[in-house]
């Protein structure tokens, strides 16, 4: 603003400036207060969420004598860090970690590829019987797992797939109703115009799926990856039934050695459980940005 204008509208100007100042102050202030409230809620919530975890951690550091005292202590009297080492050894952790990692990586790969592939078909391609088949997909989610347990086990036995990782890995490459449903919901929010545009440019569906949909749906795919990782890493029933050789066991199975009929070794059980949960949580922490990186729809169509 020119000096002349400034001088002329002297008080007027400063009033306006002050008004504007107050306004901004109050907006920013409001925002800060808002943020402060949120932060407080989050901190309180975190403490609540973490307290059971602290209990686990505290238990893992006690010796059995202290675990058996009453009333239970909140903070261990002695911190037996060696419990972790013992749990590692007694639970054959290194071997089982390798096994579990092996299975989990393939399962995640299979789930991400297969389900995004199938979900794209259900979400964006018109074909006869689509709705009916999708209903069937949904229906398979509603069947309680363990009535198919025994027949499935027998099926795998006859195929000679017992005591291999095949029953644990192969089904992931053929899709799962839960993830198909999830991804289909996400894909439906992607505007058709993008796809039509690509088709006009001569792309076929495979290209569209690989080059357009998958990058756009990164948060959803990342969600599938993490859910799938979680599921496979923590799977207990599958490895229990299908594996016979202890050398092929997975981590969840291995943890069970500490659980007894009435002589559970709580400290090792908790130490083991914490160690089993670490990789997943680290994965989540470092790969968070893939959930949070926007879908970038705005870049193209919304503006």
């Amino acid at each position: 603003m020119s000096e002349v204008v400034q001088k002329r509208s002297g008080t007027q100007m400063s009033e306006v400036v002050q008004e504007k100042d107050n306004y901004f102050k109050s907006l920013r202030f409001k925002k800060k207060v808002g943020q402060g409230i949120i932060l407080t809620i989050l901190i309180l919530g975190s403490l609540l969420i973490l307290s059971p975890i602290w209990w686990m951690f505290a238990t893992s550091l006690k010796d059995m004598k202290e675990i058996m005292t009453y009333p239970p202590t909140f903070i261990p009297k002695e911190w037996h860090w060696e419990n972790y080492g013992i749990a590692l050894e007694k639970g054959s952790f290194f071997r089982y970690t390798w096994n579990t990692l092996f299975i989990t990586s393939f399962v995640v790969l299979g789930n991400v590829l297969a389900n995004s592939f199938i979900a794209y078909g259900f979400a964006k391609i018109q074909f006869k019987g689509r709705n009916f088949l999708f209903a069937v997909v949904l229906a398979t989610m509603m069947i309680p797992g363990f009535v198919t347990l025994i027949p499935q086990y027998v099926l795998y036995a006859k195929l000679g797939w017992l005591n291999t990782y095949i029953p644990l890995i192969l089904p992931a490459f053929f899709g799962s109703a839960f993830f198909i449903f999830l991804l289909r919901q996400f894909f439906l929010t992607i505007p058709n115009e993008l796809i039509e545009a690509a088709k006009i440019d001569g792309a076929n569906h495979l290209y569209i799926w690989w080059k357009i949909i998958i990058p756009l749906a990164k948060p959803a795919i990342a969600t599938v990856a993490i859910f799938s990782f979680n599921g496979a890493w923590n799977d207990f029933l599958g490895p229990l039934l299908f594996l016979n050789d202890e050398s092929m066991y997975t981590l969840q199975l291995g943890l069970q050695v500490f659980k007894g009929q009435n002589d559970t070794q709580w400290n090792f059980l908790m130490a083991g459980s914490i160690m089993v949960l670490l990789p997943v949580i680290l994965l989540f922490f470092f790969f968070q940005r893939y959930f949070i990186e926007g879908m970038n729809l705005t870049a193209g169509s919304k503006g």
Binding site: L39, L50, S51, P52, I281
Partner: protein, 323 residues
């Protein structure tokens, strides 16, 4: 779904339009074929891994299958028994319904709110998100055993914390009127799992919408209810459907946390699946258990269809008009 089939008029029209209509139809067919190609993996998987066991269990529900030695056809006897001779089954259904009706809305609402909270760009977001997600990753029997300790009436963590705010906590796992609530409480603790879903979907809500609303002077609440919520309804729908299906099948917690896996005290934790499990693996009446599972399937199916029919009224897909 509208099939764009050209109207068949007369021979001359056919001749004239034939080339055009042929391309249309063949394009459609090509499209349809591609569709089938894409869902082929699921179809193959279903036929190979699932169909056989499913049909087997369907047939099994009409027999006295006991897994190891008998499988004689007995018609509708299992179903008759379910409806007339099983004193526990109705209780188990009631227990299960209570759990579904209370836990599903609570956990869904909790997950949405949590995701919104954790999407605000407050400092340390990554840490907070990880902390809240942590319970969802903890799995297995160890967690249930942990919670049994946490829920101890006098010295458990839960009641100790409640005591700080002046509430005398109940005997969570030994008072029949509180046991189900104990499990619901546990589920709330791991609400971070669902939060993940919503975090991802919140990313798809364009910030320009919020900016526009702010210029119009919308308050936080209005922004939430009129922008955020509608935009994430597809995922809410997904979450509601899957949570309901999951809640109906609750089993593991009750099995581990009730005394000797029997759903006590006073059968308060006997859920439908627990009852089914007992029939299958304790009594070895697997045929009956299979019958039970198909009845549950029908119940869930009806509810889900209901949900699906209701969906168009409140679910909003940006991409297109869809069912």
């Amino acid at each position: 779904m509208i099939q764009m089939e050209p109207k068949i008029l007369g021979k001359s029209d056919i001749k004239r339009n034939s080339k055009h209509s042929k391309t249309m139809v063949s394009l459609q067919r090509k499209e349809g074929l591609q569709g089938y190609l894409f869902i082929a993996p699921w179809i193959i998987g279903f036929l190979f891994f699932l169909a056989g066991p499913l049909l087997f269990s369907l047939y099994g529900s009409f027999t006295n299958y006991n897994i190891t030695s008998s499988m004689d056809f007995i018609g509708l006897d299992n179903f008759k028994k379910m409806f007339t001779n099983d004193p526990i089954i109705w209780l188990s259904l009631r227990n299960t319904l209570y759990f579904v009706v209370v836990s599903v809305p609570l956990t869904t609402a909790g997950a949405v709110l949590l995701a919104v909270l954790l999407n605000q760009g407050v400092r340390g977001m990554r840490v907070f998100r990880t902390i809240f997600y942590l319970p969802a990753v903890l799995s297995g029997v160890g967690v249930y055993l942990l919670w049994m300790q946490l829920l101890s009436p006098s010295t458990g963590l839960v009641n100790t914390l409640l005591g700080f705010v002046g509430i005398e906590g109940p005997a969570w796992l030994t008072d029949p009127s509180w046991t189900k609530n104990a499990l619901i409480f546990m589920k709330m603790w791991s609400v971070g799992g669902g939060m993940l879903l919503y975090l991802a979907s919140l990313q798809g809500v364009s910030p320009s919408l919020y900016e526009a609303a702010e210029i119009d002077g919308a308050s936080t609440f209005r922004k939430f209810f009129h922008i955020t919520l509608p935009m994430i309804t597809p995922v809410i729908f997904f979450d509601l459907v899957t949570s309901t299906i999951g809640a109906f099948q609750i089993f593991q917690e009750a099995y581990v946390m009730s005394e000797s896996g029997d759903g006590g005290p006073a059968n308060s934790l006997v859920f439908y699946n627990l009852h089914m499990w007992n029939k299958a693996f304790e009594v070895f009446d697997m045929g009956y258990a299979m019958a039970m599972s198909w009845v549950l399937f029908i119940i869930i199916l009806v509810l889900t269809v209901f949900n699906l029919k209701l969906a168009p009224r409140w679910v909003h897909y940006e991409g297109e008009d869809q069912k």
